[in-house]
């Protein structure tokens, strides 16, 4: 990795501490050549109200999604997008965003589909940065565009489609939505617009672990023992398991994908981005209602 990783002891116990940086590390490294900071938010205007100095904005809805097909941009589109933000193939990218890095983790996952090697999350994101009294600016940087190679997206290693989920049944699934969505009381998340799933419930045998349980009070990730108690203890995952995580459209489950893959060291975790908006409307796929995982 071109830029040294954060040696913070807080991250040392994680399987891949190099995937996180602390706010103090970031403050010390701002402006260093080879580093690009990216803000990626739920709120499309939040960046405009103030952001970390030098940070560029990548919006999930308007930048990372294909505008027509329900898919992400392709290799050429990704190369054009990130190249225009001054990101080269060997750039160290640090991403942060609102809702405890929920959309930041989603952006990081998309970078990973394109094999961008050095992409990290700012632990604690806005809440920690603000709690430590660190500044924002409204000045929008004008990066010089650089060449980024056109890389074919890897839709196999970290991404699962409905067919793969059907083949996977019998192996661990994590449903990261709210308990009301899991049980089928509602087909969309609390406080969010209806997104069109026709049926409520969950994929049979999926364990319910709402994504935000990975987050501590101050907005940073919980410690490894705390995460292990949740995912290995309560959800019953075993080291080496192949896991598929899903939510509503794949955004919250990116956050869980990050925690399982980089903090706990699971190597076979895939994010099912079709998630409930696909599964809950698909014909003849199995669904379980209620609070129990259910059987196949």
């Amino acid at each position: 990795m071109p830029i040294e990783t954060d040696p913070s002891t807080a991250f040392a116990a994680f399987a891949h501490p190099e995937r996180l940086v602390s706010s103090s590390w970031l403050a010390d490294h701002l402006g260093q050549p080879g580093l690009v900071v990216v803000e990626s938010d739920e709120d499309v205007l939040l960046y405009e109200t103030g952001h970390i100095e030098g940070a560029v904005k990548i919006d999930w809805h308007t930048d990372l999604n294909d505008p027509v097909t329900r898919d992400y941009l392709d290799g050429a589109g990704f190369a054009k997008l990130v190249g225009s933000k001054g990101i080269a193939r060997d750039t160290t990218v640090v991403i942060y965003g609102d809702k405890n890095n929920w959309w930041a983790a989603y952006a990081l996952w998309v970078f990973t589909l394109f094999g961008h090697e050095d992409v990290r999350l700012l632990d604690g994101a806005h809440p920690k940065w603000e709690a430590e009294g660190r500044p924002y600016t409204t000045e929008v940087p004008t990066p010089t565009a650089v060449d980024y190679p056109v890389v074919e997206r890897d839709d196999v290693t970290y991404r699962a489609f409905k067919e793969q989920v059907l083949e996977h049944l019998g192996k661990p699934l994590i449903d990261v939505r709210s308990p009301e969505e899991y049980s089928g009381e509602r087909t969309h998340m609390p406080a969010y617009p209806e997104e069109g799933a026709l049926r409520g419930g969950h994929i049979p045998t999926a364990k319910s672990v709402p994504w935000a349980r990975a987050v501590a009070e101050d907005g940073s990730f919980k410690s490894r023992p705390e995460l292990e108690a949740i995912y290995l203890g309560e959800a019953g995952l075993k080291p080496g398991d192949d896991v598929i995580a899903y939510c509503r459209i794949g955004e919250r489950s990116s956050h869980t994908w990050f925690a399982l893959t980089y903090l706990l060291g699971f190597e076979g975790v895939r994010n099912y981005d079709g998630s409930w908006t696909e599964w809950g409307s698909a014909v003849r796929v199995p669904i379980v209602k209620g609070t129990e995982p259910g059987t196949l």
Partner: protein, 153 residues
């Protein structure tokens, strides 16, 4: 398009947005977010009087008053961490200001889709604004019934 039926202020806001390039539309929405008026004191101290808009992606609360002249007054609050929602709310508060009950109820429900923001903001986010408009109109129905039928539910 339903331009002819739109109240003047909403039509003017629509024209303002449509006249701009995509990128500048976001800036205008940001300006609207700065203009969302603070809640009047009688509501600031009584959050229980406000209705939560559960479809919005951030904690958003609204309250509608219908006065004796059947003029509608809309109050909305949203946190500073949700500037997009504040912008949507501000457009509606400004665009509906001074309208009568009938005029508010005649605003087309798809107005939020017609102000040129679906590309810059994304259709999914626009749904929060449609929900906001829908709840305002529902409250107007409830409140205007209360005015004409004292003692009603």
């Amino acid at each position: 398009m339903t331009d002819t039926a739109l109240p003047a202020a909403l039509a003017e806001i629509q024209e303002e947005f449509l006249a701009l390039e995509q990128r500048d539309r976001l800036q205008l929405l940001l300006e609207f977010s700065h203009e969302l008026p603070a809640l009047p004191e009688r509501y600031a101290d009584h959050p229980d009087l406000l209705e939560r808009v559960v479809e919005c992606q951030s904690p958003v609360f609204l309250f509608v008053e219908v006065d004796d002249d059947r003029i509608v007054h809309v109050f909305v609050t949203a946190p500073k961490e949700a500037p997009t929602t504040r912008g949507f709310a501000s457009i509606l508060v400004q665009g509906l200001a001074g309208l009568t009950v009938d005029e508010v109820l005649a605003v087309p429900q798809d107005y939020p889709l017609e102000i040129g923001l679906t590309e810059a903001v994304s259709p999914l986010r626009i749904r929060g604004m449609m929900a906001l408009l829908g709840r305002i109109q529902r409250q107007v129905v409830e409140k205007s019934t209360e005015v004409s039928q004292p003692g009603g539910s």
